[in-house]
Amino acid sequence: MTAEVMLRPSFRHPGLHVMEKEHQTANALILSLSQGNMSVLDNLYDDYRDDFFRWAGQRFQVKDRDDLIDAWHDTMIMFYEQVRDKKLTHLTCEVKTYLFTIGYRRLLKMHDKSKRTDLVDTFDANINIDQSTNVYESEEVNEQQQTILKNAVKELPEKSRQILMMRFMDGKSVPEIMQVLGYASENAVSVTLSRGLKKLKEIISERMASEKEWNR
């Protein structure tokens, strides 16, 4: 599934060429981020954080600023993951509109969950983003299991952890990893990678089995 954002016809106006230029910029940013340029994420984070706080603060009566910060963190992470997983490859709206829509939904979810924020009104950004964007995949895994997963990664040797992150999170190929980490051969990378992944899988299986046993 590709989380493409569609503009409604009513949103189009005579200055469409200007918007198209903005979309080209947005698409260039997405491409750059998908290639591992994390400064794109940093810049988007910085550029829109305070605007989001002001905007969301007007729409929700958020009692705690930390809620807004959490929502913005989640928003940026979801955006990053959509790009990383190639579910978001291009936009037909501004990045800001896209981010605010995700942020708005995140706040709604927090509102529903905790009742700590009061909804002021509804928000229609005239865009259509798949609702699944609002849910971390790991939210389907319970809290106890999440802790097991996080701790399992910490148990790995640093080198293995680094290689696994590069391969599966940054999308680097084995030759690229060999070059960056200065390995002598691709085979050496592949072996370390396979052993690391297997080790991680075994740690998780072991901890999950213990948890099952404990809860029996």
Binding site: R49, H73, K86, S138, L149, V153, M165, M169, I204
Partner: protein, 299 residues
């Protein structure tokens, strides 16, 4: 599980399979419970990596929050004092403008060689005293350019300046091995911003440096280059003159060349020629070809 299966699963998880290969893996997982179990366990391992990356990102964002909040707080205090900066700057700018309008022009070489060099040097030293006052008192953005000798001379001078001025750099100044920007001292930020051509940031970093570092002629030489890049030529001239007089900078004769460029930009061609000649007469000058070309252009 066979090695071939693990490699297949790794490529599946790295999203490197073709749609057909992917469909095959998923189809086999439906038919083969052992394979399905393996696939599920490996998928959990990837989920663990995702959670770890999420933690890394949250830490990254927390760091950015600190920086942004700090900037926002600083922004408030800057706004509060900006009026007073403006008022002080306006007053001192008038004094600086008055000073340049009524002070006779002298080059460093004139000061050295002239029979009246004693008077000239005293006058120059007075200039440097004013320079220090200017440096500590006025943000350079408020500094006013000096009056021009003749419009034609200045136009030509500005053209020559534009053609020949690039802020001084050599490989020894490359700060690429330094750490994170937020951990840097102002002097390191200054050097980094300078190297990257971010002259406004370099200016701000210089102003945050320790007073002792700001008096260091090596930093002052780079600072003069920053001022030239930001069109604060008069202030740059005064600093370069001071550096030449002190003879302490590791940049050797280079200040002569840059002072000459300042002279050219402000229409003081006679002084520029003398400073260029002084530069060319110095054995360790590294941009002699450029200096010769500029000198030719002035004829």
């Amino acid at each position: 599980m066979e090695q071939i299966d693990q490699t297949l699963i790794e490529r599946y998880l790295a999203q490197e399979l073709t749609p057909a290969e992917r469909a095959n893996v998923e189809s086999r997982a439906q038919r083969d419970p052992q394979f399905r179990n393996e696939l599920e366990e490996y998928t959990l391992a990837i989920e663990a990596l995702k959670l770890a990356r999420r933690e890394e990102l949250k830490n990254r964002f927390r760091q950015r929050d600190k920086i942004l909040d700090l900037k926002n707080n600083r922004g408030g205090s800057v706004k509060r004092v900006s009026f007073w900066w403006l008022a002080a700057a306006a007053g001192i700018s008038i004094l600086v403008a008055w000073f340049f309008m009524f002070t006779p022009e002298r080059s460093i070489d004139q000061a050295k060689n002239d029979n009246q060099k004693k008077d000239s040097l005293e006058q120059h030293q007075n200039t440097l005293v004013i320079n220090d006052t200017v440096e500590s008192g006025i943000p350079p953005q408020y500094a006013k350019e000096e009056p021009v000798n003749t419009p034609n001379t200045k136009n030509r001078g500005q053209e020559i300046f534009a053609e020949n001025f690039t802020p001084y750099k050599d490989d020894a100044m490359d700060p690429t091995s330094r750490g994170e920007v937020e951990d840097m001292k102002p002097s390191e930020k200054f050097q980094l911003a300078y190297w990257e051509g971010e002259y406004k940031e370099a200016l701000a970093a210089f102003e945050s440096m320790d007073p002792s570092e700001k008096q260091n002629d090596n930093f002052r030489f780079l600072y003069a280059n920053v001022l030239m890049a930001l069109n604060h030529t008069n202030q740059a001239s005064l600093i370069l003159a001071g550096i030449i007089k002190n003879h302490k900078s590791i940049f050797g004769a280079e200040p002569y060349l840059y002072l000459a460029l300042c002279n050219i930009k402000t229409g003081k061609e006679a002084e520029a020629r003398k400073n260029l000649q002084a530069y060319l007469d110095t054995p360790d000058a590294v941009q002699k070809e450029r200096a010769k070309k500029i000198l030719e252009g002035l004829k």
